[in-house]
Symmetry: C3
Subunit: 109 residues, 3 copies
Protein backbone atom coordinates (compact mmCIF):
# COMPACT_ATOMS: atom_id res chain seq x y z
CA UNK A 1 0.00 0.00 0.00
CA UNK A 2 1.19 3.53 -0.82
CA UNK A 3 -0.16 6.78 0.62
CA UNK A 4 -0.39 9.55 -1.97
CA UNK A 5 -0.58 13.05 -0.45
CA UNK A 6 -1.66 15.45 -3.23
CA UNK A 7 -2.35 19.20 -3.13
CA UNK A 8 -4.72 20.40 -5.84
CA UNK A 9 -6.23 23.77 -6.69
CA UNK A 10 -9.71 24.56 -5.29
CA UNK A 11 -11.13 25.07 -8.79
CA UNK A 12 -10.06 21.54 -9.83
CA UNK A 13 -11.49 19.83 -6.77
CA UNK A 14 -14.89 18.75 -8.13
CA UNK A 15 -13.55 17.48 -11.47
CA UNK A 16 -10.74 15.56 -9.75
CA UNK A 17 -13.03 14.03 -7.06
CA UNK A 18 -15.51 12.86 -9.71
CA UNK A 19 -12.72 11.28 -11.78
CA UNK A 20 -11.28 9.52 -8.69
CA UNK A 21 -14.72 8.10 -7.81
CA UNK A 22 -15.39 6.92 -11.37
CA UNK A 23 -12.02 5.12 -11.30
CA UNK A 24 -12.95 3.48 -7.96
CA UNK A 25 -10.32 5.22 -5.78
CA UNK A 26 -11.03 5.72 -2.07
CA UNK A 27 -9.80 9.03 -0.71
CA UNK A 28 -10.12 11.69 2.03
CA UNK A 29 -10.27 15.45 1.44
CA UNK A 30 -8.71 18.08 3.73
CA UNK A 31 -9.16 21.86 3.30
CA UNK A 32 -5.74 23.56 3.19
CA UNK A 33 -4.03 26.84 2.26
CA UNK A 34 -1.13 27.55 -0.10
CA UNK A 35 1.96 28.92 1.66
CA UNK A 36 2.79 31.43 -1.10
CA UNK A 37 -0.52 32.66 -2.57
CA UNK A 38 -2.41 32.00 0.71
CA UNK A 39 -5.39 30.86 -1.38
CA UNK A 40 -7.57 27.92 -0.39
CA UNK A 41 -6.60 24.58 -1.94
CA UNK A 42 -7.32 20.90 -1.17
CA UNK A 43 -5.03 18.22 0.26
CA UNK A 44 -6.08 14.69 -0.79
CA UNK A 45 -5.03 11.50 1.05
CA UNK A 46 -5.30 8.48 -1.26
CA UNK A 47 -4.30 4.99 -0.10
CA UNK A 48 -3.62 2.92 -3.23
CA UNK A 49 -1.94 -0.34 -4.24
CA UNK A 50 1.44 0.09 -6.05
CA UNK A 51 -0.02 -0.75 -9.50
CA UNK A 52 -2.77 1.88 -9.01
CA UNK A 53 -0.33 4.77 -8.44
CA UNK A 54 0.32 5.51 -12.14
CA UNK A 55 -3.41 5.60 -13.07
CA UNK A 56 -3.98 7.84 -10.01
CA UNK A 57 -1.24 10.28 -11.07
CA UNK A 58 -2.78 10.20 -14.55
CA UNK A 59 -6.02 11.59 -13.08
CA UNK A 60 -4.13 14.45 -11.40
CA UNK A 61 -2.34 15.19 -14.67
CA UNK A 62 -5.65 15.18 -16.57
CA UNK A 63 -7.78 17.15 -14.05
CA UNK A 64 -5.41 19.37 -12.05
CA UNK A 65 -2.34 20.25 -14.10
CA UNK A 66 -1.17 23.81 -14.69
CA UNK A 67 -2.71 25.07 -17.90
CA UNK A 68 -3.46 28.33 -19.69
CA UNK A 69 -6.96 29.63 -19.94
CA UNK A 70 -8.38 32.68 -21.66
CA UNK A 71 -10.39 34.80 -19.29
CA UNK A 72 -12.16 38.07 -19.79
CA UNK A 73 -10.72 40.27 -17.12
CA UNK A 74 -13.32 43.01 -16.96
CA UNK A 75 -12.86 45.15 -13.86
CA UNK A 76 -16.49 46.41 -13.46
CA UNK A 77 -15.66 50.12 -13.37
CA UNK A 78 -13.23 50.01 -16.29
CA UNK A 79 -15.57 49.42 -19.20
CA UNK A 80 -18.84 51.07 -20.27
CA UNK A 81 -21.58 48.43 -20.40
CA UNK A 82 -21.92 46.96 -23.90
CA UNK A 83 -18.49 47.86 -25.22
CA UNK A 84 -16.58 44.90 -26.65
CA UNK A 85 -13.39 43.50 -24.98
CA UNK A 86 -11.34 42.44 -28.06
CA UNK A 87 -8.34 40.68 -26.45
CA UNK A 88 -9.10 38.32 -23.59
CA UNK A 89 -6.12 37.76 -21.25
CA UNK A 90 -4.21 34.44 -21.01
CA UNK A 91 -3.57 33.34 -17.36
CA UNK A 92 -2.14 30.21 -15.78
CA UNK A 93 -4.55 28.18 -13.61
CA UNK A 94 -4.49 24.91 -11.71
CA UNK A 95 -1.33 23.14 -10.74
CA UNK A 96 -0.90 20.18 -8.41
CA UNK A 97 1.78 18.27 -6.53
CA UNK A 98 1.88 14.67 -5.25
CA UNK A 99 4.07 12.98 -2.62
CA UNK A 100 4.09 9.14 -2.79
CA UNK A 101 4.91 7.59 0.60
CA UNK A 102 5.52 3.94 1.42
CA UNK A 103 2.98 2.50 3.92
CA UNK A 104 4.49 -0.04 6.33
CA UNK A 105 1.10 -1.39 7.39
CA UNK A 106 -2.57 -0.62 6.57
CA UNK A 107 -5.54 -1.56 8.76
CA UNK A 108 -9.29 -1.23 8.24
CA UNK A 109 -11.64 -1.47 11.26
Amino acid sequence: MKLVVAVIHDRDQKRTSDALLRAGFKFTKIASTGGFLREGNVTLLVGAEPDEVDPLLGIFKECSRTREQYVNVLPPEATPVGSFMANPVKVQVGGAIAFILDVERFERF
Copy 2:
Protein backbone atom coordinates in the same frame (compact mmCIF):
# COMPACT_ATOMS: atom_id res chain seq x y z
CA MET B 1 8.98 6.57 15.82
CA LYS B 2 6.03 5.76 13.57
CA LEU B 3 3.40 8.19 12.27
CA VAL B 4 -0.10 6.72 12.27
CA VAL B 5 -2.53 8.55 9.96
CA ALA B 6 -6.06 7.38 10.85
CA VAL B 7 -9.45 8.45 9.47
CA ILE B 8 -12.33 7.91 11.87
CA HIS B 9 -16.05 8.69 11.70
CA ASP B 10 -17.26 11.99 13.20
CA ARG B 11 -19.58 10.18 15.65
CA ASP B 12 -16.65 8.17 17.08
CA GLN B 13 -14.39 11.19 17.55
CA LYS B 14 -15.11 11.98 21.20
CA ARG B 15 -14.96 8.38 22.40
CA THR B 16 -11.71 7.75 20.50
CA SER B 17 -10.03 11.00 21.68
CA ASP B 18 -10.90 10.25 25.31
CA ALA B 19 -9.51 6.70 25.01
CA LEU B 20 -6.28 7.99 23.40
CA LEU B 21 -5.78 10.54 26.20
CA ARG B 22 -6.46 7.97 28.93
CA ALA B 23 -3.82 5.73 27.34
CA GLY B 24 -1.34 8.65 27.26
CA PHE B 25 -1.11 9.05 23.47
CA LYS B 26 -0.24 12.45 22.01
CA PHE B 27 -2.13 13.28 18.83
CA THR B 28 -3.38 16.01 16.48
CA LYS B 29 -6.91 16.21 14.99
CA ILE B 30 -7.72 17.47 11.48
CA ALA B 31 -11.26 17.97 10.14
CA SER B 32 -11.68 16.10 6.85
CA THR B 33 -14.33 14.82 4.40
CA GLY B 34 -14.96 11.33 3.02
CA GLY B 35 -14.46 11.06 -0.75
CA PHE B 36 -17.47 8.77 -1.29
CA LEU B 37 -20.18 9.80 1.20
CA ARG B 38 -18.88 13.42 1.37
CA GLU B 39 -19.68 13.39 5.10
CA GLY B 40 -17.46 15.05 7.70
CA ASN B 41 -14.91 12.73 9.36
CA VAL B 42 -11.68 13.24 11.34
CA THR B 43 -8.08 12.57 10.33
CA LEU B 44 -5.82 11.85 13.33
CA LEU B 45 -2.01 12.16 13.30
CA VAL B 46 -0.45 10.06 16.07
CA GLY B 47 3.32 9.84 16.52
CA ALA B 48 4.03 6.67 18.50
CA GLU B 49 6.95 4.37 19.37
CA PRO B 50 6.91 0.99 17.54
CA ASP B 51 5.76 -0.96 20.62
CA GLU B 52 2.82 1.47 21.10
CA VAL B 53 1.36 0.88 17.61
CA ASP B 54 -0.57 -2.29 18.52
CA PRO B 55 -2.23 -0.76 21.64
CA LEU B 56 -3.06 2.30 19.49
CA LEU B 57 -4.70 0.19 16.79
CA GLY B 58 -6.55 -1.61 19.58
CA ILE B 59 -8.18 1.69 20.57
CA PHE B 60 -9.34 2.32 16.98
CA LYS B 61 -10.74 -1.21 16.84
CA GLU B 62 -12.54 -0.72 20.15
CA CYS B 63 -13.88 2.84 19.55
CA SER B 64 -14.21 3.31 15.80
CA ARG B 65 -14.83 -0.01 14.08
CA THR B 66 -17.75 -0.64 11.71
CA ARG B 67 -20.64 -2.01 13.71
CA GLU B 68 -24.40 -2.46 13.47
CA GLN B 69 -26.74 -0.31 15.48
CA TYR B 70 -30.53 -0.32 15.76
CA VAL B 71 -31.96 3.07 15.04
CA ASN B 72 -35.52 4.28 14.88
CA VAL B 73 -35.78 5.79 11.47
CA LEU B 74 -38.88 7.92 11.83
CA PRO B 75 -39.26 10.37 8.97
CA PRO B 76 -41.32 13.08 10.75
CA GLU B 77 -44.14 13.22 8.21
CA ALA B 78 -44.50 9.45 7.91
CA THR B 79 -46.01 8.54 11.28
CA PRO B 80 -48.94 9.94 13.27
CA VAL B 81 -47.60 11.18 16.63
CA GLY B 82 -47.87 8.48 19.32
CA SER B 83 -48.11 5.44 17.08
CA PHE B 84 -45.56 2.74 17.84
CA MET B 85 -42.69 1.83 15.46
CA ALA B 86 -42.45 -1.96 15.97
CA ASN B 87 -39.31 -2.83 13.99
CA PRO B 88 -36.34 -0.49 14.39
CA VAL B 89 -33.94 -0.61 11.42
CA LYS B 90 -30.42 -2.11 11.57
CA VAL B 91 -27.77 0.17 9.94
CA GLN B 92 -23.97 0.06 9.74
CA VAL B 93 -22.12 2.91 11.49
CA GLY B 94 -18.52 3.87 12.20
CA GLY B 95 -15.62 2.46 10.31
CA ALA B 96 -11.98 3.58 10.36
CA ILE B 97 -8.73 3.15 8.50
CA ALA B 98 -5.09 3.56 9.60
CA PHE B 99 -1.88 4.03 7.61
CA ILE B 100 1.33 3.30 9.59
CA LEU B 101 4.31 5.23 8.16
CA ASP B 102 7.96 4.97 9.15
CA VAL B 103 9.42 8.23 10.54
CA GLU B 104 13.05 8.84 9.55
CA ARG B 105 13.59 11.50 12.23
CA PHE B 106 11.42 13.18 14.91
CA GLU B 107 12.17 16.55 16.52
CA ARG B 108 10.48 18.44 19.35
CA PHE B 109 11.19 22.18 19.79
Copy 3:
Protein backbone atom coordinates in the same frame (compact mmCIF):
# COMPACT_ATOMS: atom_id res chain seq x y z
CA MET C 1 12.69 14.54 -1.45
CA LYS C 2 11.52 14.44 2.18
CA LEU C 3 8.10 15.38 3.51
CA VAL C 4 8.24 17.27 6.81
CA VAL C 5 4.95 17.21 8.76
CA ALA C 6 5.21 19.85 11.50
CA VAL C 7 2.65 20.97 14.11
CA ILE C 8 3.16 24.52 15.36
CA HIS C 9 1.27 26.73 17.77
CA ASP C 10 -1.32 29.15 16.32
CA ARG C 11 0.48 32.17 17.80
CA ASP C 12 3.71 31.24 15.95
CA GLN C 13 2.02 30.67 12.58
CA LYS C 14 2.58 34.09 10.99
CA ARG C 15 6.21 34.40 12.10
CA THR C 16 7.02 30.86 10.95
CA SER C 17 5.25 31.26 7.54
CA ASP C 18 7.09 34.53 6.85
CA ALA C 19 10.46 32.93 7.73
CA LEU C 20 9.72 29.90 5.49
CA LEU C 21 8.82 32.19 2.54
CA ARG C 22 11.91 34.36 3.05
CA ALA C 23 14.04 31.19 2.96
CA GLY C 24 12.28 30.06 -0.27
CA PHE C 25 10.49 27.00 1.16
CA LYS C 26 7.25 25.84 -0.50
CA PHE C 27 4.63 24.61 1.96
CA THR C 28 0.94 23.93 2.64
CA LYS C 29 -0.96 24.94 5.80
CA ILE C 30 -3.71 22.85 7.43
CA ALA C 31 -5.81 24.01 10.41
CA SER C 32 -5.69 21.41 13.19
CA THR C 33 -6.43 20.89 16.90
CA GLY C 34 -4.21 19.67 19.73
CA GLY C 35 -5.34 16.38 21.25
CA PHE C 36 -4.58 17.41 24.85
CA LEU C 37 -5.29 21.17 25.16
CA ARG C 38 -7.90 21.06 22.33
CA GLU C 39 -6.62 24.46 21.20
CA GLY C 40 -6.27 25.39 17.54
CA ASN C 41 -2.80 24.84 16.04
CA VAL C 42 -1.39 24.50 12.50
CA THR C 43 -0.09 21.44 10.66
CA LEU C 44 2.47 22.32 7.96
CA LEU C 45 3.39 20.05 5.03
CA VAL C 46 6.80 20.96 3.62
CA GLY C 47 8.38 19.02 0.75
CA ALA C 48 12.12 19.67 0.87
CA GLU C 49 15.36 18.24 -0.52
CA PRO C 50 17.51 16.30 2.03
CA ASP C 51 20.08 19.14 2.40
CA GLU C 52 17.26 21.64 3.10
CA VAL C 53 15.87 19.70 6.10
CA ASP C 54 18.33 21.09 8.68
CA PRO C 55 17.78 24.75 7.67
CA LEU C 56 14.02 24.06 7.75
CA LEU C 57 14.20 22.61 11.28
CA GLY C 58 16.30 25.64 12.21
CA ILE C 59 13.35 27.89 11.31
CA PHE C 60 10.99 25.87 13.53
CA LYS C 61 13.51 26.07 16.38
CA GLU C 62 13.86 29.82 15.88
CA CYS C 63 10.15 30.70 15.41
CA SER C 64 8.11 28.02 17.16
CA ARG C 65 10.07 26.53 20.07
CA THR C 66 8.72 26.35 23.63
CA ARG C 67 9.80 29.45 25.48
CA GLU C 68 8.93 31.45 28.56
CA GLN C 69 7.20 34.76 28.28
CA TYR C 70 6.17 37.26 30.91
CA VAL C 71 2.53 38.14 30.62
CA ASN C 72 0.38 40.39 32.69
CA VAL C 73 -2.44 38.16 33.73
CA LEU C 74 -5.03 40.71 34.74
CA PRO C 75 -8.46 39.18 35.11
CA PRO C 76 -10.59 42.28 34.34
CA GLU C 77 -12.63 42.15 37.54
CA ALA C 78 -9.63 41.55 39.81
CA THR C 79 -7.89 44.92 39.72
CA PRO C 80 -9.10 48.51 40.08
CA VAL C 81 -8.21 50.45 36.90
CA GLY C 82 -4.81 52.17 37.17
CA SER C 83 -3.33 50.08 40.00
CA PHE C 84 0.09 48.62 39.22
CA MET C 85 0.67 44.85 38.74
CA ALA C 86 4.10 44.38 40.36
CA ASN C 87 4.92 40.77 39.44
CA PRO C 88 3.98 39.67 35.93
CA VAL C 89 3.54 35.90 35.61
CA LYS C 90 5.98 33.64 33.71
CA VAL C 91 4.17 31.13 31.40
CA GLN C 92 5.37 28.66 28.77
CA VAL C 93 4.23 29.35 25.19
CA GLY C 94 4.80 27.90 21.74
CA GLY C 95 6.20 24.45 21.17
CA ALA C 96 6.40 22.47 17.94
CA ILE C 97 7.02 18.97 16.65
CA ALA C 98 8.26 17.71 13.28
CA PHE C 99 8.08 14.28 11.61
CA ILE C 100 10.52 13.77 8.70
CA LEU C 101 9.23 11.18 6.22
CA ASP C 102 11.01 9.71 3.23
CA VAL C 103 9.26 10.41 -0.11
CA GLU C 104 9.47 7.54 -2.61
CA ARG C 105 8.44 9.73 -5.56
CA PHE C 106 7.42 13.38 -6.07
CA GLU C 107 5.44 14.70 -9.04
CA ARG C 108 4.43 18.22 -10.06
CA PHE C 109 1.63 18.69 -12.64
